[in-house]
């Protein structure tokens, strides 16, 4: 199979985006309902809608396997919707649907990926889905037609044309369980005729249904041939406990039935029913109707099916159905590459602007109105920059919500009871950062679940902790960076064990007794370190933590661990709000201009040579407020032939990051400036420039390039 049908290339992005969004929605609903251990009508219908949309768009794109998979899932939920009472054991449904959703995601990733797309064979899960469907169909034995929600409540009277008959049935007084009897009767009528509508709608669920039937009778509208109408009437007549019946409409509109629905049901119920009613009338009748739904649905399935029903019932825009749609209309999805381009251009405009305004040719000229306009321009470009920045900012809710799923899966597999607490998910960070946070967060949450939380509940109870463990995800933004913490209330890091392990693996650089607790805790982030003796499915291979750290550092962040033995562990991720623009201090070393991120600078100062402490090697240090800091000469470090080698001629900058600090020696400070960070060209990617202590470069106002110092790596080099 070719990757995509011709002419569909432009659609593929949209398809992937849409399908992924839907799958995330699906996961969300599943997780929510799993907690409650029950599907509400809304949930089932929402899942049904998702399956249906995925199926439709997969079919449109020509992904037959995906279409089939979605179809099976849809069928499953069709049965669940039709026979909610059969759903005595929901857990297997969850496993099945989660599995399906995973397969979907994997497949979509395949489609998205490079190279030829080969459809995966889903036969295993397909047959499981069929089995599941079979179980659900047979299970119980309760009257299957409780399909109150699937009936087209929104269908107006006008739809009832020729051959329709509305009958009101009264049961014998005091026969009890009128609702069930009605339901059984309805079932029988369905065997004979096409039931269009009935009232009360919710025979099983509504406790008042019986009362309504007693008082107002049970109204059924059905379509049948004139001869068969007689048969149906006979059936009703002969049914047990039926006292009497009256034909309200024959060959006329079924208005009365519909009116009653709208009038007496409360708004919420009406809207739900409306939102889920399928575009075809036959939807309620049999399993085969699923097919017809597909045929009648609009091909691109851009609009959720709930929209199609909405206009019919003005009441439907009140709650959930409406809630799901409102957010979408005011948001458009933009290709990230275009945003990047916009961002680049804005960066260039800012640089060009300062090239114009501080052009050396203007020096000495009296330019009153020019400066006024220049200020105006500066204000506008600043605003433009802020706006572009804010476009790229997305809330962390996405990656956070995904963790629910991880916790859920691990809870089941590890047999540990835990819950995920999410705080501050509305904190916004740059889109590229959010994307690169997914993997690290997943690793950390897994780690908390696997290593952090005690293996047995007894262990927890002994310590006086609640039996249910908590994994907390928190995000707060503070001064230019976002701090994300992943913490558990588990057993914490056993520093002795870590130290022992590190010694065994030869990771120690000094005597074990010389390590501080914090240093030991952070050892678990070293490559090749794992205290877990058993390699589990989730973690324990010793890769992971260092990969997590690398990933976070790649996007300019840092990772540290804090732990209290016996009380839990907290991973702290600090990431910059945005990658692209930093506040920097320009320093000069000979002719080269370096930019040091302001956030790392603690202090800059002049020194006397007498204050410098020299150690036995060539190392130089300085004592500031009782603390000793090593001095790094930037000109030596970067092999720049500078004339300023005397400390008294230059300037020292105390920098600190990740708890490590040093003093940098430069010729002189130029000033503070906002700079647009540009990565080094791809051509230089094969050389380890970052390892040398440079994180990128930036174009200055005069068009020259200066280099941005990566303080953490620079200290590392030293």
């Amino acid at each position: 199979m070719s990757k995509i049908e011709s002419g569909m290339e432009s659609m593929i992005d949209m398809y992937i985006f849409e399908t992924n969004t839907l799958l995330e929605q699906l996961d969300e609903i599943l997780l929510k309902t799993e907690e409650a251990q029950t599907f509400t009508g809304d949930d089932i219908n929402e899942i049904f809608r998702i399956m249906h949309t995925v199926k439709g768009s997969s079919a449109m794109m020509g992904f037959d396997e995906l279409q089939l998979l979605a179809h099976k899932g849809e069928e499953l939920f069709f049965i669940i919707r039709e026979k909610p009472d059969n759903l005595s054991d929901v857990s297997f449904v969850y496993d099945l649907v989660f599995r399906m959703s995973d397969l979907f995601k994997a497949e979509v990733e395949l489609i998205q990926g490079e190279g030829e797309y080969v459809a995966t064979d889903f036969s295993a899960v397909l047959s499981d889905l069929e089995k599941g469907a079979a179980i659900l169909t047979s299970e119980g034995g309760v009257i299957p037609e409780t399909a109150s929600l699937s009936s087209p409540a929104a269908s107006g009277g006008g739809e009832f044309g020729e051959g329709f008959m509305t009958v009101r049935i009264y049961f014998q007084e005091g026969c009890k369980m009128e609702n069930l009897r009605s339901s059984m009767l309805l079932n029988k009528i369905r065997e004979e005729a096409d039931v269009k509508d009935f009232y009360p709608k919710d025979l099983e669920g509504d406790p008042n249904a019986s009362d309504i039937i007693v008082e107002e009778g049970f109204t059924v509208t059905f379509k049948a041939d004139p001869e068969e109408n007689g048969a149906v009437l006979k059936l009703i007549e002969n049914a047990i406990n039926v006292e009497s019946y009256e034909v309200i409409h024959n060959n006329a509109s079924g208005q009365s039935g519909s009116d009653q629905v709208a009038a007496s049901e409360n708004e919420n119920e009406a809207s739900i029913a409306a939102a889920v009613s399928l575009p075809t009338d036959s939807a309620a009748t049999s399993g085969a109707s699923v097919q017809s739904v597909v045929e009648n649905a609009p091909a691109p399935v851009k609009i959720p099916s709930s929209d199609t029903a909405a206009p019919a019932t003005p009441t439907s825009n009140t709650n959930q159905a409406a809630h799901l749609n409102t957010g979408k209309q005011s948001i458009i999805s933009v290709n990230l590459a275009k945003l990047d381009q916009l961002h680049d251009i804005v960066g260039e405009i800012i640089t060009t602007e300062s090239m114009v305004i501080s052009n050396p040719e203007l020096e000495g000229l009296k330019l009153e109105s020019f400066l006024k306009s220049a200020r105006e321009l500066k204000k506008l470009t600043d605003e433009l920059q802020d706006t572009v920045m804010s476009i790229r900012m997305v809330p962390l809710a996405g990656p956070f919500q995904k963790m629910n799923r991880i916790v859920r899966d691990m809870k089941v597999k590890l047999g540990k009871d835990a819950e995920l607490k999410i705080e501050g998910e509305s904190t916004e960070v740059d889109k590229t950062i959010v994307d690169s946070l997914n993997d690290p967060l997943m690793h950390l949450v897994r780690n908390c679940m696997d290593h952090g939380i005690e293996d047995s509940v007894e262990e927890r109870l002994e310590k006086g902790k609640p039996a249910k463990a908590t994994v907390t995800l928190n995000a707060v933004s503070s001064s230019g960076e976002v701090v994300i913490t992943v913490s558990d209330d588990g057993k914490g890091i056993d520093t002795e064990k870590v130290l022992h392990k590190a010694e065994m693996n030869g990771l120690l650089l000094k005597l074990p007794s010389e390590y501080t607790e914090r240093e030991i805790q952070n050892m678990i982030l070293l490559p090749g370190f794992s205290t877990n003796d058993v390699v589990t499915e989730f973690s324990g291979r010793g890769v992971g933590m260092d990969v997590v750290r690398d990933n976070i550092e790649k996007c300019g962040g840092s990772l540290t661990v804090e732990s209290k033995h016996g009380f839990g562990t907290t991973f702290i991720i600090k990431i910059p709000l945005t990658l692209a623009i930093i506040q920097g201090m320009e320093v000069k070393v000979d002719d080269t201009v370096f930019v040091i991120p302001i956030s790392t600078i603690r202090q800059s100062f002049k020194v006397q040579n007498s204050e410098i402490i020299k150690d036995t090697q060539r190392g130089e240090m300085i004592m500031i407020r009782g603390q000793c800091y090593p001095i790094m000469r930037l000109h030596e470090n970067f092999a720049i032939p500078s004339e300023v080698t005397d400390f008294e001629d230059g300037i020292l900058l105390l920098v600190e990051t990740d708890g490590k600090s040093a003093c940098l020696f430069a010729d002189r400070l130029i000033g503070e400036q906002q700079v647009v960070v540009k990565p080094f060209p791809a051509y230089l990617g094969r050389y380890n420039i970052k390892g040398a202590g440079l994180s990128g470069c930036t174009i200055m106002g005069d068009g020259s390039i200066s280099l941005i110092i990566d303080v953490a790596n620079l200290i590392e080099v030293y």
Binding site: D344, G347, E348, T351, T352, T592, N637, F638, A639, I640, K678, F680, P681, A682, Y683, L684, Y687, N688, I689, G691, A692, L694, C697, I699, G703, S704, I705, S706, L707
Partner: protein, 169 residues
């Protein structure tokens, strides 16, 4: 990328010239330049633009080889520059008014090549391509795609792909 490439890049796409008709037709055009006495050429589709020698910012990293002189600012794009003299093992000379930077691009990668002098744009004809033994086996010649024998001398047409991706010396 696309917006920075000049009008040159529109005629023929890189890589398309592999089909060489045996007729006396122009296969492609090449921009020739001199390094010392020797004339080299780059097929036009790869050439983005020609600049003088802008201010070069050195990248102070021990791993970056000596012939990569640093990075330059080409209209707000950061482009690395390679000195072709030292790349070909010749001694570097001081930049003068004839020294040029030829910006070449291949896929996403843009590189500036510092050459002694840019000469002309000539038509590459099949009949001018010299029959030579497989050049790639000889280490010093591995940057050479083919040799042109013209009336005014021999011109070595460079393989840009090799220069960009295979510059371990």
């Amino acid at each position: 990328m696309a917006n920075t490439s000049s009008l040159f890049a529109q005629n023929v796409k890189p890589g398309e010239k592999s089909v060489r008709p045996e007729k006396e037709e122009e296969i492609t055009k090449a921009l020739t330049f001199a390094i010392g006495e020797q004339v080299y050429g780059i097929e036009i589709p790869y050439v983005v633009e020609i600049l003088g020698v802008p201010k070069i910012t050195r990248v102070p990293c021990a791993e970056v080889p000596y012939f990569i002189k640093g990075i330059i600012n080409v209209r707000s794009r950061v482009v690395p520059v390679v000195n072709m003299r030292s790349c070909f093992g010749k001694e570097e000379i001081e930049y003068n008014e004839k020294t040029c930077t030829i910006i070449v691009a291949l896929n996403d990668i843009t590189v500036g090549l510092i050459v002694d002098e840019v000469l002309e744009v000539l038509s590459v004809m099949q009949k001018n391509i010299a029959k030579t033994p497989d050049l790639n086996n000889v280490n010093e010649n591995r940057f050479i795609e083919y040799i042109l024998e013209m009336n005014d001398g021999t011109k070595l047409i460079l393989n840009i792909k090799k220069i960009i991706f295979d510059n371990e010396f």
